[in-house]
Symmetry: C2
Subunit: 406 residues, 2 copies
C-alpha cells in the first residue's frame, strides 16, 4: 500500500523529495526542506501534514539558539514499517530487522537446521518473527523479507539452483513457501551479491560505484557492481569465478564440473595441495596456523593460492575494471592471504587496484540485504513506482549494528 492512492505524478515526485530530505537529514524543519528541495514552504507544509497524518513522520522538537522564530523539526517514524533480512548459510542462519530509518536491529543467529528443505523455511520464518519481537516491533509492520542464499536464485520458479550447502532446495519453491509462512513479499538473492551491496553501502568501498567483492571459502565467487548497480548476468550466474579458465587446464572434463579455478582455490584444492606437498592432512585454518609457525609447505601452498587469487582479480580488472576490490569469506578475509595478493597483483596487472579485506565480516550479507530491502521499501512506499523518483539510502553513519543475540 503506497502513501496515497493515486496522487498526481508531480505530487508523488515532491513527496519523494521531501521524504529523501527527511530520511537523509535527520530531524529537519520544514523551512530547511523547502530550501533543500526548492519547493515552496507552503507545499512542504501541505506534504508534511499529509505524511504526519498517515503516520510516516512525526515532530521531534524545535530548533533553538538561532535568530528568528524557532522551527518545528520532523523525523521519520522509524518503526512505521520494516523489512527482514536473512543470511542463509550452510552452517548458520542470521536474521535481522531493518526499519525505515535504516537502522539494522535485533540480529538473531542460529545453526542451520540440518534437515534442510521445509524445516529451514520454518526456521527462517521463526527467526524473522523472533527478531521483530525482540525489538518490540509488531509483526504486521513487516513489509518484505530479503533472503541471501548460497546459490543462484531462479527468479521465475522461486527455486535455488547450484546450492550444495543447503539440502532440499532444488525442487522447492522457496519464495512461495517463505511468502506463505511470512505473509510478505520475498526477495531471493545470492549471498555474495548481497555482500557486494553491503560493502557498497557501508563497508570498505562505500561510495565506489564500480567494485568487486570476492568471497573465498569453500568455493570462490564474486559479487560485482557496475555504476552502482549489481551485475546479475543473463542467467543470474555472474561472478562464478570458479569457472575462470586457468588454475588447472580448463579443457579437462573435470573443469566443466568443478571449475578450473575452483579446483585450486577452494578448500578442497588447498588441502589437497598441502597434503601432496607435506604428506600431512590439515584443514585450512590449520594450514594458516602452520604458516604462522613457519611451515614451508604451508607457505608454498598459500603463496600459490595467492597467485591464483591475484590472477582472478586481474581477470576481473581486465573485464570490468572496478575501482576497488574487497576480499571476504573464511579464507579471503585472512590478512596473510590478502597481503600476498596485494603484493602479487602489480606483477600481473599493469594499473594498480585497491585491495581490501571486508570490513563488515560475517555481517556483510545481512547489511546488503537490508540495503536491498530498504531501497525497495522506500521506493514502494514513497516513490509509488514513478520512474525517476528514487530515494537513495542515507550514508553509513545512520546505521547501527546492534549486538547479536545468542
Amino acid at each position: 500500500m503506497a502513501v496515497n492512492e493515486a496522487p498526481r505524478i508531480s505530487r508523488q515526485f515532491s513527496l519523494c523529495m521531501v521524504m529523501e530530505a527527511i530520511v537523509h537529514c535527520g530531524p529537519i524543519s520544514r523551512a530547511s526542506i523547502a530550501k533543500q528541495t526548492g519547493l515552496s514552504k507552503q507545499t512542504i507544509s501541505e506534504i508534511a501534514r499529509q505524511l504526519e497524518e498517515d503516520g510516516w513522520i512525526r515532530e521531534t522538537g524545535r530548533t533553538q539558539g538561532h535568530v528568528g522564530r524557532s522551527a518545528v523539526t520532523y523525523e521519520i517514524v522509524p518503526d512505521a514499517a520494516c523489512i527482514a533480512t536473512v543470511d542463509l548459510g550452510g552452517t548458520k542462519v542470521r536474521a535481522a530487522i531493518a526499519d525505515l530509518s535504516c537502522q539494522v536491529l535485533a540480529e538473531v543467529t542460529e545453526p542451520t537446521d540440518a534437515r534442510g528443505g521445509v524445516h529451514v523455511i520454518s526456521q527462517i520464518a521463526r527467526l524473522c518473527r523472533e527478531a521483530a519481537a525482540h525489538n518490540n516491533i509488531p509483526y504486521e509492520r513487516l513489509r518484505m523479507a530479503v533472503v541471501g542464499v548460497p546459490g543462484v536464485p531462479d527468479q521465475e520458479r522461486g527455486r535455488i539452483v547450484m546450492s550444495p550447502n543447503v539440502t532440499g532446495f532444488e525442487t522447492l519453491d522457496v519464495r512461495a513457501a517463505l511468502a506463505a509462512e511470512l505473509g510478505v513479499e520475498i526477495v531471493l538473492e545470492n549471498d555474495v551479491n548481497l555482500a557486494a551491496i553491503g560493502e557498497h553501502w557501508i563497508g570498505s568501498v562505500a561510495g565506489v560505484d564500480d567494485l568487486a567483492y570476492i568471497a573465498i571459502g569453500t568455493g570462490i565467487g564474486a559479487g560485482l557492481m557496475v555504476g552502482g548497480d549489481l551485475v546479475r548476468g543473463f542467467g543470474n550466474a555472474a561472478g562464478e569465478l570458479g569457472f575462470l579458465p586457468f588454475g588447472t587446464d580448463p579443457f579437462e572434463a573435470e573443469s566443466l564440473k568443478v571449475g578450473a579455478l575452483e579446483r585450486v582455490t577452494g578448500t578442497v584444492g588447498i588441502r589437497r595441495r598441502y597434503r601432496e606437498l607435506s604428506g600431512r592432512e590439515l584443514d585450512v585454518p590449520g594450514i594458516f596456523d602452520a604458516l604462522g609457525a613457519g611451515d614451508v609447505h604451508a607457505r608454498q601452498v598459500l603463496d600459490e593460492t595467492a597467485r591464483y587469487v591475484a590472477r582472478a582479480v586481474a581477470a576481473i580488472c581486465a573485464i570490468t575494471n572496478p575501482g576497488k576490490v574487497v576480499l571476504g569469506g573464511s579464507i579471503g578475509s585472512r590478512r596473510e592471504l590478502v597481503e600476498r595478493v596485494r603484493d602479487l597483483l602489480p606483477l600481473c596487472f599493469p594499473s594498480p587496484v585497491e585491495l581490501d579485506v571486508s570490513e563488515l565480516g560475517s555481517r556483510v550479507a545481512i547489511v546488503g540485504g537490508a540495503a536491498v530491502g530498504l531501497t525497495h521499501l522506500h521506493s514502494t512506499l514513497f516513490a509509488g513506482g514513478v520512474p525517476g523518483a528514487e530515494i537513495s539510502l542515507p550514508p553509513a553513519k545512520v546505521v547501527k549494528l546492534v549486538e547479536a543475540v545468542q
Copy 2:
C-alpha cells in the same frame, strides 16, 4: 536549447511520453497517442499543437478505411535536428549523420590522414560537414557529434590515452579541438564500446541487455553491456581483454606491457607463432588463406588462437555472464575462427553461450555512435533533464543504412 524554457515537471513528462509514442509508432493519430500514454485527448492536442508550432512534428496525412471519423496523423520532422557520428580508425575515418527519426544518413569514408593530430581533427570536421551537405541538411541543425576512437578517452581532459594507431592524440585535447572546429558538443567514446552499443541496438544481439562484443584485430578488446548499460569501468578501462592473465605467463615482466593474452591473440602473436612453426612469414589474411588451402601449420596456429579466444569468452561468461557474445574485428569476424571457438567453448565452460559474428561489420561503431548521439539528443530536446523521463530508441526497422559514398 530545449523545447520549452521552464515548463512544469509534469508537462515535461507528458511531452516526453508523447514524443516517445510519435518516435516509436511512426505516423500516429492524437487519439492513438492518448490511448497509448493514458493521457487525455485534450492534453495530447495541447502538446501536439505546441510541438507542431515549434517545428518538431508535422501532419503526415489521415487514416482511412477504419470505422469512424478519419484521424490526422503526426510524425516527427526528421531533419529538425541531427547528430554526427564518426568512427576514427587507424586506417579509415567514417562519418555519418543521423536524424531525429533515427535514420543513419549519408555515410562518408576516407583514409585517415597519416599526419595525425590536428590534421585528423580537421579531417573529421570536414567529413561531418560533407556528410551533412550530402543529405541537404543545413549544418546549423547539427546538435552534437559522437566520435569513436581506438583508445581510452580521458573524459576530464578530453584526451585519448593508449591509442597507438592514431599519432599525436596523447597530448591534444581532442574534445576541445573538435568542439572548436564543429561548434557543437563532442562525445568521445571507445570504438569497441560503440560497437557493443551498435550491436545491442540493431545488430545480432538486439534486445539482449547483457552482452559482450569482442573485437579481435591488432589487439583484443571487448565492449560489455550489463542490464542494457555500457560497462565503462572505474578508469574507463573495462574490456581490456589483452590483460587477461593467461595465454602467456601473466607474471612475466613483458605481460605488464603488452598483456598476457594480447601477446598470443593479437596480429603480432599469430604471425610469430606461424613463423615459428612453418618458417614462413605471412600476414594474418595470408594465414587464413593458407588454412583454406589445407596448410597444417596455419590450422594449428588458428586452432590454438581459437582456444585462447574460447578461454577469453569463458572468462567473460564466468564474470559477467552475458546472454550473447558477438565477435568482430578483422580477425574476430572470420567464420573459420568463430566456428572453431563455438566448438571449443562448451569444452571449457559449462553453461552454453550464444556466439555470433557481428552483423553490422565495419559499420557497427558508426551505428553505436548514432545510438549514443540520438539517445542524448532526444533526452536533451524532449526530456529536458527530468529524471525518469527518457525516450528509448525505436527498434531496428526504422533505421536505414544508406550506401557508402566513395
